[in-house]
Amino acid sequence: MLNILVCVKQVPDVNLVKIDPETGSLIRKGVPAILNPYDENALEAAIRLKEHYGGTVTCITMGPDQAEEALRECLAAGADRAVLLSDRAFANADTLATSYVIASAARLLGYFDLIFCGKESLDGATGQMASQLAERFDASQLSCVAEILELDETARSITAKRVLENGTERTRASWPCLLTVEKTNYRPRIPNLKQWKASRKAEILRYTSRTIPGLDPEKIGDPGSPTKVPRTYPPQVGERGRMLCEESPEKTVKTLLGLLADVL
């Protein structure tokens, strides 16, 4: 039976995040937390495989208690099982520490043939999780997948169409394999009432740093994260260009075209 893991993340909708003009810090208040949009595509790809070949889909995330909502969304869309890794000790983790915790917990859940994750997160946007999770799972790796073409359960391989910078590649990889998918062919579905209701009542498996056996405290959270963020600042911008404002837009455009005469 095909066993699929989908790694997801709850993120603030960064399009709605504003910067406090006085302090230069982020205003997160009132910004809704959403399931990372790329993760929705990953989930959709996983669920379609399950529908076609049978098997189970497990969703896992690391985050605060509220991240449960993102997992319920996955359950509504058709995931069978949801796992929340939540602990203060996990906070401030970079991708190295996060991938370590997720892979350690996943070992408690069984052996996964395929692992899916979003190509990047809306907030961190490093795009590193896929590679590092693949490393932690000792999996082969297929990024930029536009379409999954074939699954061979006997040979334990998966064939996919990848969209690269200058062309399209067909690649076959052995299981376990980690995949990131492109948006176009894997738009998220809308769950029906029955699925939605089940997702609201479903039990969510929870793990903390103490309930994952053998977890090395030096490899999780802040201590386990080699990258640090010593400071942030608002983007520095230069002076504004020359602002054109004549008495009518017609004249403004005329002035502009005059100024551009030697470039045009």
Binding site: R172, P226, G241, L264
Partner: protein, 330 residues
């Protein structure tokens, strides 16, 4: 870890056997400067054979040392082989930093060998600063959708690994230096490569999707109404230029990804660029740094884009576009 036992900065030179990826040359030029500030050497790591002329272009960036890997299992590229190769090379040679172009290949294997080592990996820095007090590199990159800049460091671990997007830095070779070459003979067992490429179909050449050489560009931002697209296309045509957009316009499904300007898309260098309804997030404007004259039109007088522009007009983008069409046609 004694980070002071790690020396010299590496750039992985990505190539297809014929030509070197421009991003690798851009990185060589930028890391040359960084290495000079740090008092370290610049190594170019090349896997496989490279034609003489191409090698000369790498050396022209002022490389101090060439590390050339020969052997079986490196072509075609595989994440499995290159992850193992860079893990081994880093353990043996102990570089202080490894820079990899942010191509799909680079983004696939660099974080992975960083994980195997393990060490810290950053992606998409737009500025690199060496801090002499700590000996660390500050990777400065846009965060939170470009609303903030974040400084990322790897204070305890070495090497410091970074992937850098194509076009972030300029190709500005300072000429060859006295360069030493080291050959590494090693191979990767083919049976350990777990992904097999069955075939590859190159994209049809579609010149309208190639922004890199466009002399004039009309770029539209998220404020664009779907039904207004044709008039911007028309303006681009009239100017003998190309239509482009920001990432959210692509996300809305209005234009293909190849037309996205910015950190995750194309870096452009037109003589003239019109920007309509673009807010000016850092992720986008990093793709404009080599543009000549920039004209921005936005209804919000406080839009950041005006700070990156030569000329700014506060107004209705569709109206200004129509007026440009009228006056250019007339």
């Amino acid at each position: 870890m004694d980070k002071h036992s790690y020396h010299d900065m590496w750039v992985y030179v990505e190539h297809d056997g014929n030509s070197v990826q421009p991003v690798s040359l851009e990185l060589c030029c930028e890391i040359r400067k960084l290495a000079d500030v740090a008092g370290e050497k610049l190594w170019a790591v090349i896997v496989g054979e490279l034609a003489k002329e191409e090698l000369a272009r790498v050396l022209d960036c002022g490389v101090d040392k060439l590390l050339i890997v020969r052997g079986e299992g490196w072509t075609p590229f595989s994440v499995d082989a290159y992850t193992q190769l860079f893990t081994e090379l880093c353990r043996e040679y102990r570089p202080s930093a490894v820079f990899v172009g942010g191509s799909i290949q680079g983004r696939d294997f660099a974080p992975r060998f960083a994980c195997r080592l393990p060490t810290g990996c950053t992606s998409d820095a737009t500025e690199l600063v060496y801090d002499p007090k700590t000996g660390d590199i500050e990777f400065i990159e846009p965060a939170v959708g470009g609303k903030m800049m974040a400084v990322i460091t790897v204070p305890e671990m070495r090497p410091q690994v970074g992937t850098i997007r194509p076009g972030t830095f300029r190709y500005s070779p300072t000429g060859p230096r006295c360069c030493e070459t080291v050959y590494e003979e090693r191979s990767f067992p083919l049976e350990k490569i777990r992904a097999e490429i069955l075939d590859f179909a190159p994209d049809q050449e579609d010149d309208s999707l190639n922004l890199a050489d466009a002399e004039v560009i009309v770029c539209i931002g998220n404020a664009v109404k779907a039904e207004a697209l044709p008039r911007y296309r028309q303006l681009a045509q009239l100017l003998g230029g190309k239509l482009a957009c920001t990432r959210p316009v692509f996300d809305r499904g209005l234009l293909p990804f190849k037309l996205v300007i910015g950190q995750s898309g194309a870096v452009v260098k037109p003589k003239l660029l019109f920007s309509f309804g673009v807010s000016g997030a850092v992720n986008h404007v990093t793709g404009l740094s080599d543009a000549g004259c920039i004209v921005a039109v936005n209804k919000d007088p406080d839009a950041a884009i005006f700070h990156y522009s030569d000329y700014g007009i506060v107004g209705d983008m569709d109206e200004i576009c129509d007026l440009l069409l009228q006056q250019l046609e007339g």
